[in-house]
C-alpha cells in the first residue's frame, strides 16, 4: 500500500500553514501505511549554509553533538553553527564549505549518527510509528515552508525500520517518496555504485532517489531526469520528488499505484487518495485530476 502526500504552495500567504496542511494530509493516510512515516519540508534557508538533519541509529535524542562539534571544529564553523532539536532529530546549520568536514567528523566520532538529509532549505524527518503520531512528535504542524512531501509506509519487502522509511535524500535539497516496488534496483544500485554513489540501505526507493541525483549531477533538469527514470527503472512506482525550487510527480507507464492531484491558484497538492486532500482550503473549487501514466509533472518556484 503506502500513502504519499505532497504540497507545493504558490501563495506566499499560505507558507506559515504548510506544516499544518501537510500534517493533516499525512494523518489521513495513516491507514495506508501505519508502520512508519516521514516528511521533508522546504523552509527558510541561506544559500551560504547547509542544514544537516541528523538522527541517531538507536532512535534516541541526539545530545551534545552540536556542542562537541563546536568544540572540535569551531574554527571551520565560525559563529554560524546553529542547532535545533525537533523530536529525536537534530538540525545543524553550518557553513556550506564545512559540510564534508562535519560529515567526516561525525562518521569518525559519532558512528551512531546518521545524516538523513542535507540542504540549504530542506529538513527531513522520519521514524517508525503511526504517521499521525510521528507528525506530532516532530511538531510538523508548526513548520512553515514553500513545499513539502510526506509518506506513510506499509512495508512489504523489507523490515519496518527508520532506515526504510521515506523520504530518501541522496543529494542536497533533494528528496523522493515512493509508492510501489522496483524490480531492477539491485542492478541500478551496482551501476551507480561504480559511478561513485553511496547507499545507506538496501532499499529500492533509495536507488530511485540516487538515480535522480546521478542524472541531475550530469547537468540535466528535474523533468528530464524523471523522464529518464521511465526507461531505466523497472517496476511499480508513483514518485513525488522535491528539490530546492521544484516539486515533481511521475507514475510508471501502467499507473499501477493510485494518485490524485488538486490545483488551485494557491497550491498544487498530491495525495495517494482524494481523502488526503479534502481538508485543503478551497478544495471544492480546485481542479482535481489524476496524473497520467508515464508523464512527468513539474512545478517550479519562480
Amino acid at each position: 500500500m503506502c500513502g504519499i502526500v505532497g504540497l507545493f504552495l504558490k501563495s506566499k500567504a499560505l507558507e506559515p500553514q504548510l506544516g499544518s496542511m501537510l500534517s493533516q494530509m499525512l494523518g489521513v493516510m495513516d491507514d495506508r501505511g501505519p508502520d512508519s512515516a516521514g516528511f521533508a519540508v522546504y523552509g527558510a534557508g541561506d544559500p551560504s549554509t547547509v542544514k544537516l538533519t541528523l538522527r541517531s541509529d538507536g532512535g534516541e535524542r541526539i545530545e551534545g553533538v552540536a556542542a562537541a562539534l563546536q568544540e572540535h571544529l569551531g574554527q571551520d564553523l565560525g559563529q554560524d553553527l546553529g542547532s535545533s532539536q525537533r523530536g529525536s532529530h537534530l538540525v545543524l546549520t553550518i557553513p556550506k564549505d564545512a559540510e564534508q568536514k562535519v560529515r567526516d567528523w561525525l562518521a569518525a566520532h559519532h558512528p551512531e549518527v546518521r545524516v538523513v538529509g542535507a540542504g540549504s532549505r530542506m529538513e527531513l524527518y522520519k521514524e517508525v510509528g503511526l504517521p499521525s503520531d510521528v507528525a506530532e512528535r516532530f511538531a510538523l504542524k508548526s513548520m512553515s515552508g514553500t513545499h513539502g512531501i510526506g509518506h506513510t509506509r506499509m512495508a512489504t519487502e523489507s523490515a519496518v525500520t527508520t532506515d526504510g522509511a521515506h523520504p530518501f535524500s541522496t543529494g542536497v535539497d533533494q528528496c523522493l517518496v515512493h509508492n510501489g516496488s522496483l524490480s531492477n534496483h539491485n542492478g541500478v544500485r551496482r551501476y551507480l555504485e561504480r559511478d561513485g554513489l553511496t547507499f545507506q540501505t538496501e532499499n529500492d526507493t533509495e536507488v530511485a532517489a540516487a538515480y535522480l541525483t546521478w542524472r541531475m549531477r550530469q547537468g540535466i533538469d528535474l523533468k528530464s531526469a524523471l523522464e529518464a527514470c521511465l526507461s531505466d527503472l523497472d517496476g511499480f512506482y508513483t514518485f513525488v520528488v522535491g528539490t530546492e525550487s521544484g516539486f515533481a510527480v511521475v507514475r510508471d507507464p501502467i499507473a499501477c499505484k493510485p494518485a490524485v492531484m488538486a490545483e488551485t491558484d494557491d497550491y498544487v497538492a498530491f495525495g495517494t487518495e482524494y481523502r488526503a486532500l479534502v481538508g485543503l482550503p478551497g478544495i471544492e473549487n480546485a481542479r482535481v485530476f489524476e496524473p497520467e501514466p508515464a508523464k512527468v509533472y513539474v512545478w517550479e518556484r519562480h
Binding site: 499507473a255 493510485p258 490524485v260 487518495e273 482524494y274 479534502v278 482535481v288 489524476e290 497520467e292 501514466p293
Partner: protein, 228 residues
C-alpha cells in the same frame, strides 16, 4: 427524501440504511452530503431508489449495485460501479482507474474522462464515457458495451472476449487480439440505444468505430455466441 451528511453520520450507517431498502420503502430518494472521498459509499444497494452524492467519492462507489440510480456530482475514485448488476451510475466528473470493472449489467455513464483500465473484465455492463479513456481499457472484457465519445489510450481491448468497444475518437493502439470490426445493424441499434439512454441521442452511431475480439486467443465456438 432522506439526507445523510457523511461529515456527521458514519458511512456504515448510511450503507446499512440503504441495504434495508429492498422492497420495503417508499423512501426512494436519498441525498448524500460531504462524501469527502470516502471509500465504498452506496455499495450493495438492491432497491429501485435514487442516491445523489454531492461531491467526490473514493474507491468502489456503487459497487455491486442492483436497481438503484446513483448520481455522483463530482469525481469517482478507483473501481466505481465495480461488479454492478443493474441500475445506473452517473458520474458528473471524471472516474479513476477500473471504472465498471467486472460489471455484469446496468449502465455506467461518465461525463468526464475515465483513466486506465476502464471496463476491465466487464461482463455485460454498458459503459458510456463522454470524454476519453485511459490505457488498457476493456482488458479481458467478456461481454457488454463500452462506448467512448473521445479517445482511447494504449492497448485497448487487450485479450478481449465478446464485449463490443465503440470509440468515436482516436485509438492510441489496440491490445492483443483486439481488431476493428464492421458493426452489424443490430450492433448499431445497441449503440444508438446506449447513446440515447446516456442523453447523447444527438450523436450518430455512424461516427463510431467498433472494436472487438479477433477470437484467436480463446476457444470461441459459434454455437456459444448467444451466451455473451
Amino acid at each position: 427524501m432522506s439526507t445523510v451528511d457523511l461529515a456527521v453520520t458514519p458511512l456504515r450507517e448510511l450503507n446499512a440504511a440503504l441495504h434495508k431498502l429492498n422492497g420495503h420503502s417508499n423512501d426512494t430518494r436519498w441525498e448524500v452530503l460531504n462524501p469527502l472521498g470516502k471509500h465504498a459509499i452506496a455499495v450493495g444497494i438492491d432497491a429501485p431508489v435514487t442516491v445523489e452524492i454531492e461531491g467526490h467519492v473514493g474507491y468502489y462507489c456503487g459497487g455491486m449495485n442492483k436497481q438503484a440510480r446513483i448520481v455522483i456530482a463530482g469525481n469517482a475514485g478507483v473501481g466505481v460501479g465495480e461488479n454492478m448488476m443493474s441500475g445506473e451510475i452517473h458520474i458528473k466528473g471524471d472516474a479513476s482507474q477500473a471504472a465498471g470493472a467486472t460489471g455484469r449489467g446496468g449502465l455506467l455513464v461518465i461525463d468526464g474522462n475515465a483513466s486506465a483500465r476502464c471496463g476491465i473484465s466487464m461482463k455485460g455492463i454498458d459503459i458510456l464515457v463522454k470524454g476519453s479513456i485511459g490505457p488498457m481499457s476493456a482488458f479481458m472484457a467478456q461481454a457488454g458495451n463500452l462506448v467512448v465519445l473521445g479517445d482511447a489510450g494504449e492497448a485497448l481491448g487487450d485479450s478481449i472476449y465478446e464485449a463490443r468497444l465503440f470509440v468515436r475518437g482516436a485509438v492510441k493502439s489496440l491490445g492483443a487480439d483486439c481488431v476493428q470490426k464492421t458493426p452489424t445493424a443490430e450492433e448499431r441499434e445497441t449503440l444508438a440505444a446506449i447513446l440515447k439512454r446516456g442523453g447523447c441521442d444527438d450523436i450518430s452511431p455512424d461516427e463510431f468505430r467498433l472494436y472487438g475480439s479477433a477470437r484467436r486467443l480463446y476457444h470461441f465456438h459459434i454455437d456459444n455466441v448467444s451466451s455473451y
